[in-house]
Structures are given as structure tokens and as C-alpha cells.
Symmetry: C2
Subunit: 427 residues, 2 copies
């Protein structure tokens, strides 16, 4: 016997139209596998009139209230993104007794506590597999596959735009700006790429998955975020020589009772699965105390991969499968302070090639107890020469103080580029 | 409110004792996440008397019938492996109204149809996440995360022993026998390693996951299986020069309405995530029509990783989450014939270094329409010189016929080693 789930869809952009396509194309196989027929009853989009001919037999509206209050649907799928009106669409749908599926990482990262509270109040489910890692079923892996584990850390390449750019810089020796232009031409970067390039998208995603992983409410504004615009091919080639790749990582770790969460470019040893993630792909490494590291790799964005994640949530809701941890047990987060964050660092700066200058820089490191493991000064025909440092393990706030001092030297051009070495993820 | 699931455990070996350890160590975190308390009520093992002191508050028996007929348990966990008595333990548990969780890939691969039939008859669930990929939640990814996809192919490094040996051959230039000895010393290979080395373990696993992926009953005896004992460091280094890695793969593909399923060493392009899977790790690439390739990587065996998979099944059963496709809809399999299997091949043989011999070998290829893309004859101080061939795309039964002829030449030492190039998985 086939059971029908009736769906209201808000947002017919890239992902929304992917959902429509998937449910049309794979309806038979979903019914065969699950006995469930997922039917879109009503769709809402501001440009719905241009799309109507593609979605026969579906009610069309430009007013989301008609979806939320529709008497004949079980579940609302929110795919417009952003904070408002997405927040109202989701909370009012829950209040109206409907389950919700969303891909909205920004909303979940910034207003997740209110959203989950509303779902608990309403006794309804909220599915958000599509909000992290696109077509990679990482939320489900965390909530179900690894449910028996204490999660020690999560490290993820969570943004395809930045990984595409870093791959081109590494493999094709392109500068950051040339690689960005290429990404824009291929459709892997927006016309205004700031949100991706500066790490905000990755930060939303590491926030959402970490909240679940540790059962703690993470305040998005507490996450230190650094993007990739300061990375040069020089850094990437030096990393390569040392056996490392540079990747933009979203990282969270449970250190005692404190959470260390951040987004920045990091050096990863070549032997780690994250180091070989190429182009627009995403990957997430979840370290459980029982499994060790589990890494999931795939397409982190795009129409049909993300639609696949939305549909997986719809099927689980239709099956009555609940896998979300009880968010009522979630606690607030204590954040690891900068004095407790200790790792090795790579630093690169440009300076005038003059006797005594290296001594002054080394002196600044010494003043803050930062011990240098190796230095390379490259020859150059320009006024400024690049100098690359690798430190021994150092305390973050001390290295930041040393860099502040070095940045103020008049013989240093621009600012020091700092990249932590992620030795903590398994080699 | 905490719900209790009462469990009977049959088999207290590596995985069974891992389950006991996990449930003791992580009881609190499982209750917090799920509201479920997983309690082992009774445990059965032939050597239970030696283990009793480690499992206080658990009934002990050496007779599995006492578990199956126990009036006070919901679910039986079968972890003894092999066909009998595991088959009877599982089917009688189902008949007695208990859910079943098992890690038994051999039983599911060889008798799966009967097992799933028994589960359907009894209206009970059977969980087997632990049977494929150890701690990697690949069964759940397939049944839930990728439920909206038609599965096009699955390619997996499904055996840690063989991957450990191949890694040592590649990275440390060890011979097969030296690498095997190292694996045995480190506990990654059995005293009798035949079952792993010759690909049978990988074949059981690709059979189980493929049955689910395509909704087809796959007859285990139809799977062509070739192990790694014929691989030499020569092959691995040649592959490396060409940009490939050699991995033992379990592969299944849906080609039209036919299934191509097999286990053999294969050349994989270095840029594919499977190529960089090192040492005892496993990884599985599932290609969905909507997601593209999703790859899952982690520990494919071992006490606590496999226990994590068992516990994930227990939690899902306790939650009432059913994700198994309806096996009543499964159909029998049509297997792709050797005439339809077309790919590029690598071949390596040893021959006497004498004029005219290469012409004779090339003649055998030509006779069966196998076109050679490149040949390398290496210099050697021994009586026989290695000759390496890369073919253009060729039909499998024709290349096998050519090899048969070449193997019969008196100037060829031993047999030709044949390794397909897996171009079909994405680069």
C-alpha cells in the first residue's frame, strides 16, 4: 500500500526546482523503496508565474501564508534562505501542525535555538540534512550512524567556492584573483563572492552540525572566522613541499567541557582524506570516540544533490523516523579561550631584504614565547622578499600578540598571513 | 522519560565485547541523545565462563537457545559470524518475535533472501549496518541519505587487510609476502589470510550492499572474485607513474537492466577519493543519479568501530525507525555478460628477452581485437624480463581469450597479471 505525503514548497530557486525534478524523475523508485509517494500540492515563489508551465497539477502562489495555512499538506519545505521571512514561514508552519524541512543554514546557525524550541512546542519534526554538505548525508550520519559515540571533533571542507579556488591555486598555479574569476565563470562563485570567500557560509554550517554533535547551543557570533583572500600560491607551494595542503576548514572540538569552534584556512597533512578533496567538492570528518574518524565526501551544493538531501528528510518524516536528538537536553556552550588553544603555525610575511631585520622579527617571536621551527627566506627581484616561518607548538593569544608587533614594523609590507597546522586530525 | 531496550547478545568475541564496552562507557550520552537505555540482559558465548567477571548484572549462558527464547528481551544481536548456527539463531529469533541485529556479511550474502523473508514473515526488523564497512555508516547512507536516488554504481575498498598490504607495497616498496607478514604482525591479517587476500570478504560485503542498492537478489556465487596475491610492486609503481593507484575493489554497476558485480584489483585515478585510502581503512563510493558520487571513509573493522554500527542499529530499532527497503519488491538479477564488459586493461607478464617474442604476444592481442595503447619492457638481469601493457578499451571475454593464448606460450613465465582500469568512476 502506498502512503501519500502532501508537501508545500516555498522557494523554487536552484534547490526548489531540483526537488520538483527529483520527485518527478524518481517517484517510481522512491515508492518502490519506501512505499511513500511524495506529492507537492502547492508551491510558492515570487516568480511563480514564470514557472507555472513546468509544474502542472501543483497549486501556485506568490504568498507563503497560503502554504503555511494550507489545510491539505503535512509538511512545508522552506528553500528561500535568509532570516526573514524564512523564520516566520518555519515557525508558523510548525504552529500550524506541519513538519518542516529546510536547507537554511544561516537561519539555523543564527536562530536555531528558537527554531528547535518551536518544533518541540509543536511536537513536530524539523529536517535539515540539506543545510550542511549538500548531497552528503552528514547530519544523518551524525544523528544515527554515530549515535553511540561521543563526538570529539568535526573538521569540514564545507564551502565549494573556496575549495574550488584553492584547488586551482594549487594545481594550476593561479593567483587568488585569477582562480576566483575562473570560479565565477564556471558558476562556482557568486558575482559578490564575499560570503563564501570570507568563510561565513562555512561558519554557518560548522555551527549547525556542531550544535547537534555536542548537544550544545553555539552562539554563531562567537565563531572566529577567517577566509582565504590572504592565501597566496607561495603559501600553497610551501605547504606542498612540507607535505601539507591548505584548505578552508570549519572546525569544532570538545576540549574538556569547552568547545573550540572556528573557521580558517588550515594546513592538513597530505595523508588525511580532507587534503585530497578537490574542486567544488565538500567533505566532513567526524571523530567519534568509538569509530575514530569517519569522513564523508561529495557534492556540497547544487540543484539535485541538495534536493536529494531534502527528499531524504521528507522520506524519514513520512516514515515517522525521528532521529533528531532531544534539544531540550541541550546546554549553553563554554568556549575555549585563546590561551588554551595551542598548535603549530605557519606564517608568511614580506619584508625589505636588509641585515638585522630577521633578528628583529625573531625577537618579536621570542618576546611572546613563540619558538620557530624553521625559516625560509626566498630570493626575489622585487623590493620585498617573502619570509616563511613554521613555529613549534604555540599558544594562540601569544602568537597573535607577536604578529601584532611584527605588523607594526615599518620594514614589513602589508600584514602577516597566519595559517594553523591541524595536527590534531589523524594522519 | 527513558525507554529501555532489552538485548540478548550472542557472541562475545572482538565485536561483542566492543558492544559491551560501548554500552557501558557511553550509556549516559546515548540516553541524553535518544532517551533510550540499551541494556544487555543475557549474553551467550562458548567461553562465557572466562568472561563472566567482566559482565556483572548480565545473565550468562553457553546455549544460544536460551537467548532466542528469553521472555524478557526485545532484540537479539548475533555476532558469531558464519552460516550455522547463525542462520538458525537469526531466523528463530525472528520467529520468536524479536528484532535482530547482525554483523554477519557472509550469512547475508549467501542466505540473505531467506533471512529477509523470515524478517518480513515475522514483521520484525533486521539491522546489519555492521556487516559492511565496520564503523562507516554506509547502509544507512544508502537507505536513508540517498533514498531519493537511483543508484548507478557502488565501488568500495571493503577489506582492511588487503588495503593495508597494498599501502605497504606502495609506500614502503615491500613485496606482497613481506607486506602480508607485517600485516599479520600488526594484527591486520589472520594467521590464514586466504579469505581476505583472495577477495572473499570484500565479495560478501559488495553483495550485501548491492542487494539493497538495486533492490535485486544477487546470487553470491555469480560474483567473479580475484584477490591481490598476484600483484607485484612492479605493477604498483607502474600504476603510480601513470597517475593511478591499485586497490582491491568490490564493484557493482547497474547497466541497463543488468548488474555488473565483481571483486578484483583495479587501477583508480589518483584524483579519486578511493585512491588515497591508506592502510587498514575502508571507503565506499556510492553514485546516485541525483547526488553524483558520495564517498564514505573510515575504519572498516575492529572492536569499537563495528560496535558503533551495531549500536546505531539498536537505537534505530528502539526508536521504531524503519529504513530497510521493502524486500518483497526485490527481483532476481540479470548479470552483465563478459561480452558487454568493456574497459581499459593493464597487463604484466614475464618473458624471455629474445627477438620476435614481442611480435608473437602482440599478435595474440590482435587476433582477439585487443588494441595496445602502450608497452614498456624493462631491463632485467634475470632470465625473464617484465613487459607491461596498457590496452585501449577492450571487451572482457576477448582479452581473457588473448591472455589464455599468451599464458600457453612457452617463453612466458607464469601467468599474465590483468588489472582493469576503473575509468567509469569519476576522476
Amino acid at each position: 500500500m502506498v502512503r501519500v505525503m502532501k508537501i508545500g514548497l516555498v522557494g523554487l530557486g536552484t534547490v526548489g526546482s531540483g526537488v520538483v525534478h527529483l520527485l518527478k524523475r524518481n517517484r517510481d523508485v522512491i515508492i518502490r523503496k519506501t512505499g511513500i509517494d511524495l506529492q507537492i500540492v502547492i508551491a510558492c515563489d515570487l516568480k511563480i508565474n514564470e514557472m507555472k508551465h513546468n509544474i502542472p497539477n501543483i497549486e501556485c502562489t506568490t504568498n507563503w501564508h497560503e502554504v503555511v495555512t494550507h489545510p491539505n499538506i503535512d509538511t512545508v519545505v522552506e528553500l528561500i534562505g535568509g532570516i526573514e521571512p524564512a523564520f516566520r514561514i518555519i515557525t508558523e508552519s510548525l504552529k500550524a501542525g506541519k513538519h518542516v524541512v529546510t536547507a537554511n543554514k544561516k537561519l539555523l546557525a543564527e536562530r536555531g535555538k528558537e527554531i528547535f524550541h518551536a518544533a518541540n512546542e509543536a511536537g513536530k519534526t524539523i529536517g535539515f540534512e540539506a543545510s550542511v554538505g549538500g548531497g552528503i548525508p552528514c547530519i544523518r550520519a551524525l544523528n544515527e550512524g554515530l549515535v553511540g559515540n561521543r563526538i570529539a571533533s568535526i573538521s569540514g571542507i564545507l564551502n565549494g567556492t573556496t575549495n574550488y579556488i584553492l584547488t586551482l591555486m594549487e594545481e594550476e598555479n593561479k593567483s587568488f584573483s585569477d582562480a576566483l574569476r575562473d570560479a565565477q565563470e564556471k558558476g562556482f562563485a557568486e558575482a559578490d563572492p564575499t560570503f563564501d570567500i570570507e568563510g561565513h557560509d562555512a561558519a554557518h554550517k560548522i555551527c549547525v552540525i556542531s550544535t547537534l554533535a555536542y548537544g550544545k547551543w553555539i552562539n554563531f557570533s562567537h565563531i572566529p572566522i577567517q577566509g582565504i583572500s590572504q592565501i597566496s600560491p607561495l603559501d600553497i607551494h610551501f605547504a606542498h613541499e612540507m607535505g601539507y595542503a591548505i584548505k578552508l576548514l570549519g572546525i569544532s572540538k570538545l576540549v574538556g567541557d569547552e568547545i573550540d569552534i572556528r573557521v580558517h584556512p588550515a594546513m592538513i597533512h597530505r595523508s588525511h582524506p580532507l587534503a585530497s578533496v578537490r574542486r567544488e567538492n565538500n567533505a566532513i570528518t567526524i571523530a567519534g570516540d568509538m569509530t575514530g574518524e569517519v569522513t564523508l565526501h561529495g557534492k556540497g551544493a547544487g540543484s539535485t544533490p541538495t534536493a536529494s538531501a531534502v527528499v531524504s528528510d521528507l522520506v524519514q518524516i513520512a516514515r515517522g523516523n525521528i532521529s533528531l536528538p532531544d534539544t531540550k537536553s541541550f546546554t549553553d556552550t563554554n568556549y575555549l579561550s585563546s590561551e588554551k588553544r595551542i598548535t603549530r603555525y605557519y606564517l608568511r610575511l614580506f619584508t625589505i631584504d636588509r641585515p638585522g631585520i630577521l633578528a628583529k622579527i625573531a625577537g618579536a617571536f621570542g618576546k611572546y614565547d613563540v619558538s620557530i621551527a624553521s625559516v625560509i627566506q626566498k630570493e626575489s627581484n622585487t623590493d620585498y622578499v617573502p619570509v616563511l616561518f613554521m613555529t613549534h607548538r604555540a599558544v594562540e593569544n601569544k602568537i597573535l600578540a607577536a604578529i601584532k608587533e611584527i605588523n607594526s614594523f615599518d620594514f614589513v609590507d602589508g600584514k602577516v598571513t597566519l595559517i594553523p597546522v591541524e595536527d590534531s586530525i589523524a594522519k
